[in-house]
């Protein structure tokens, strides 16, 4: 299976930024500082459970529901 990581990242950015591009860029940087670089993942990226677990925890920190 693939693509879930990119979907999770996109959902976090979309929910936090609500379409504001400046905020979206800041959320991307926050993710990088937390240890996940959105640029490393595409729709073809395999569904790595360890990365998905990290993203789930980050979503909770951001107050975002996935």
């Amino acid at each position: 299976m693939s693509g879930k990581i990119k979907s999770m990242i996109d959902a976090i950015i979309a929910q936090r930024s609500k379409g504001n591009p400046t905020v979206a860029k800041a959320v991307e940087t926050k993710l990088i500082l937390k240890g996940i670089d959105p640029g490393d993942f595409t729709a073809a990226s395999p569904d790595d459970p360890a990365v998905m677990e990290k993203l789930q925890a980050m979503a909770e920190q951001f107050g975002v529901s996935l």
Binding site: A26, T29, K30, I32, L33, G35, F62, G63
Partner: protein, 367 residues
């Protein structure tokens, strides 16, 4: 808004000198930065005593900046007039160990501004953070802030003139160690931020494969002892690698620009940094460029975006100050801000989304 400074050493007289220069602006908030040569408690008390109608907030430094000059042993201050600053609220965060201190401050902000911090508009509000530069808590506090709000908090880590004994933040007429001050501002004029660092990528990358995050230490880069890998990357003998730290820090790349992590010292085979590196992070080896030229360009570019600038608050890394001093360029750097009301200080770290090093983060006000 107006900038002021004094080299008067007596705290009462220093506060009086700052008041004399700023009182005509009837400030809504006074932001001040002071050398650690001053008694921090006495200075904060005297500053709040002088400005009875508005909050005074600030911190100790490793050098001060005011329009056109870099100073040592001084107090610099910015008075924000009512037209520049529609509203401001200051909160002291005493607990830097977890999210509780930030949560409490944010509840106070929400009550004051009438909107939860998670919903407050980052286009109309901005935050300043000043934090004990010896607390080692900057990453944690910035992450909590970034989790809870989209409001940008920009600032610096308090210094103590490189004594590395105690740094203080000022709020409510007192001085505090092991604490942070958050100021949430609603400007009445255009505002923006600048993040500028004078480095370019070398094309070489180091991946942190084992770290001690709490100690800000990288144990292994690319699966091998960190100090050996760094020395090879910069082309230095292992025992001379630390001489390259200032010129060749590393950067976590985001949006094409580095969030700089500066090496501090080699401990055995480990490298201790001035801010943390998480396991798995790939860092770009950087090499320094021209601080004065790069800062000039950053200001010119911002002027082109915003028009004339009304004022700048400059959080300027002490490592940049040391490099400028080493190259005899402090006057040239100070003069970049000659025609813009400016205050700032040499920091023990900068805050801009996260905690970073060897950078200037600036809060900029337009017309």
């Amino acid at each position: 808004m107006k900038a002021a400074y004094t080299t008067e050493k007596n705290p009462e007289k220093a506060a009086a000198a700052i008041f004399e220069q700023l009182s005509e602006t009837a400030p809504r908030m006074v932001l001040f930065f002071a050398s650690s040569e001053y008694d921090p408690e006495a200075l904060s008390r005297e500053m709040q005593g002088a400005f009875t109608d508005c909050p005074t907030v600030g911190c100790t430094t490793a050098g001060e900046i005011v329009s056109g000059r870099m100073l040592k042993g001084a107090v610099t201050a910015m008075g924000f007039s009512a037209s520049t600053l529609v509203d401001a609220r200051v909160q002291l965060v005493r607990d830097l160990s977890g999210p509780g201190g930030v949560e409490a401050a944010f509840k106070n902000f929400a009550a004051h501004f009438g909107t939860p911090m998670a919903q407050l508009d980052p286009m109309t509000h901005i935050g300043i953070i000043l934090i004990d530069g010896l607390s080692g808590a900057e990453e944690r506090i910035m992450e909590h802030i970034g989790d809870m709000t989209n409001i940008q908090f920009i600032g610096g880590s308090a210094g103590d003139d490189l004594k590395l004994k105690a740094s203080h933040v000022f709020a409510d007429g007192a001085a505090h160690s092991g604490a942070a001050v958050l100021a949430l501002l609603k400007p009445g004029v255009a505002f923006d931020t600048i993040k500028t660092q004078s480095f370019q990528e070398t094309g070489r990358e180091l991946t942190a494969t084992e770290v001690d995050e709490g100690r800000r230490e990288v144990i292994r880069f690319n699966g091998r002892p960190a100090s050996q890998v760094y020395a090879e990357a910069v082309g230095a003998a292992p025992d001379a690698a630390s001489e390259r730290f200032m010129h060749n820090p590393v950067g976590l790349m985001a949006g094409g620009e580095p969030y700089v992590r500066s090496p501090q010292q080699i401990i055995g085979d480990r490298i201790k940094f001035y801010c943390n590196v998480k396991e798995g992070m790939t860092l770009s080896l950087l090499e320094s460029t021209d601080i004065v030229a790069d800062t000039r360009k950053a200001i010119v570019d911002k002027k082109a975006e915003m028009g004339d600038l009304r004022g700048i608050v400059n959080f300027h890394c002490i490592l940049r100050t040391l490099e400028l001093e080493d190259k005899g360029l402090t006057d040239a750097y100070g003069k970049l801000f000659s025609h813009i009301p400016t205050v700032g200080f040499s920091t023990y770290g900068e805050q801009y989304i996260g905690h970073i090093n060897q950078t200037s983060t600036m809060l900029v006000f337009g017309k």
